[in-house]
Symmetry: C2
């Protein structure tokens, strides 16, 4: 086992993940919890980090590289944004150091698209981009990072040209819990990407995105007039929201631009099925690996490891 | 003052409105409350109606005509649906009578579009249609009835050809309360149809409906990078959802089809401003008048008054 070289932390709104990293990016230890920014604002960022560092027995002088919401205005220390167009390799140079800590702790900046008509921000996913960059064989690609707020990034020759966020996951949650569809989806046992109700909804929403809220009501109406299982209703809502995202995300990219899908967990199967259904050319990168590789890349650049 | 001829009731999910009607549709008395279907399921439909009938001192033998959710499966008595295409004049003929009541109480049926790929239902708005039919001077028109679930109905020569429901109001509520936009809109003092943030959002969403969820996130991002007032954020969300509705509703109608807007309250100003912004040819009918006229029309037809 190699000696630890640094600690990598992905600090989201509601999750905390820490890895003890050795030579050749070997993972020597790992610690996870739900102590995201929301919790750490109450209990103290230094306390949360300290607890997890003890967990993996990190030496006192080991440096720590952090990405995510710990760098938001309401986080530990604001790490600002790099304006696009921007080179991915600029990200490590603009990290900010936490003052008053003996250990060298740095937070990576986000990305900002400072266009009043298409304002957008990224915080956390820039590190996934950095970690996926080895996969970008084409000189022109789209990187899709699905989630609560799905990010679609256009990259040409290592330069981030622009990006767009779609509130897909958050709207899926709000609609499934707080609208009339909650009745139709009640006690759904779940669904997967192979479900035709899902893939058909993706296709329909991509083709006719303007009918989105009509399609959602139609699920309820079909339940009244015919019958709809809770799983079918849930699959249709999910497919409709993902299809709407695809319609917007693919709108301005040249046809046949290759897509790199950075994803993990259940969303992987759904987005892969959706991409197959609409005929996208894509390859998949595991999102957990991507963020760890990105943090490593930044750490090695900052501390010349 | 004329003698009362019948009682008209608009019984929604969360509202109850009753009018005592005389000759020439004269309103002789009125009673309103929040005792919609949800409440009446608990306290008893007959009790709620009885209380309001006493309120307006309705004679014991006066008949009552009812529309709305009292006729839903989970209402007082299921009044079913008339399948489209359907003539508006068929609606009164298919009312159902409440059994076991001395008084003649009838509930009007809804409309159903029994198409597995575009299932849709109307319950309550069919009576507004009936009450607006005198305004339909053109042989071909669209009737827009905005609300929690906005209804757009295509009518050709008094026949309902088809319709579509858009979950505009319900999504506006869910998004403004249960997503990240709730922070950006916090303590908004409100906005109106003259607000350029509203009309510009209508225009943008009509033009590029596929960017809907991106536009919503962009409001949040603009707040982080520049500044956005809570009222501007609320106006943008509202305009985006209404613009998305227009994109879907106008999609399959022949260009320049005249629109009859059946609306009341705050939504009137917003939809009129939205229609002006996108250049629609329309006339407005007050929704409260429309439902009362529709109930009267049905009562006079059923009881030959």
């Amino acid at each position: 086992m190699s000696e630890p070289q640094f600690v990598a932390v992905d600090w989201g709104t509601s999750s905390f993940r820490l890895w003890l990293i050795g030579e050749n990016d070997e993972v020597l230890g790992e610690s996870r919890s739900g102590e995201g920014m929301t919790t750490a604002r109450e209990t103290g960022f230094a306390n949360v980090l300290g607890k997890h560092l003890s967990q993996v027995q990190a030496p006192d002088d080991l440096p720590v590289i952090v990405c995510g919401m710990a760098g938001a205005k309401q986080g530990w220390k604001e790490a600002g944004y790099i304006d696009v167009p921007a080179r991915l390799s600029d990200i490590p140079d603009l990290s900010v150091r936490i003052e008053g800590e003996a250990r060298d702790i740095r937070i990576l900046p986000g990305l900002a698209q400072r266009d009043p008509h298409a304002s957008d921000v990224i915080r956390g996913e820039e590190t996934q981009l950095l970690g996926s960059s080895r996969k970008m064989k084409s000189s022109d690609c789209l990187v899709a990072m699905p989630g609560t707020h799905s990010k679609w990034v256009r990259i040409v020759r290592d330069e981030v040209l622009g990006f767009a966020t779609f509130m897909t996951g958050e709207l899926f949650d709000a609609i499934s819990r707080h609208t009339i569809l909650s009745h139709t989806m009640k006690d759904s046992p779940g669904f997967d990407g192979a479900d035709p109700a899902f893939t058909n909804a993706v296709h329909s929403a991509l083709k006719e995105p303007e009918l989105t809220t009509n399609r959602l009501f139609s699920v309820r109406a079909r339940g009244l007039l015919f019958s709809v299982s809770p799983a079918e209703a849930e699959a249709t809502l999910s497919g409709t929201m993902i299809g709407l995202e695809l319609a917007g995300a693919l709108k301005s990219a040249p046809k046949d631009t290759p897509v790199i899908l950075v994803v993990s967990g259940k969303l992987r199967g759904l987005y892969e099925a959706a991409f197959h259904r609409v005929g996208l050319k894509f390859s998949t990168v595991d999102a957990d690996d991507a963020v760890r590789h990105g943090l490593s890349h930044a750490a090695r650049s900052i501390w010349s490891l």
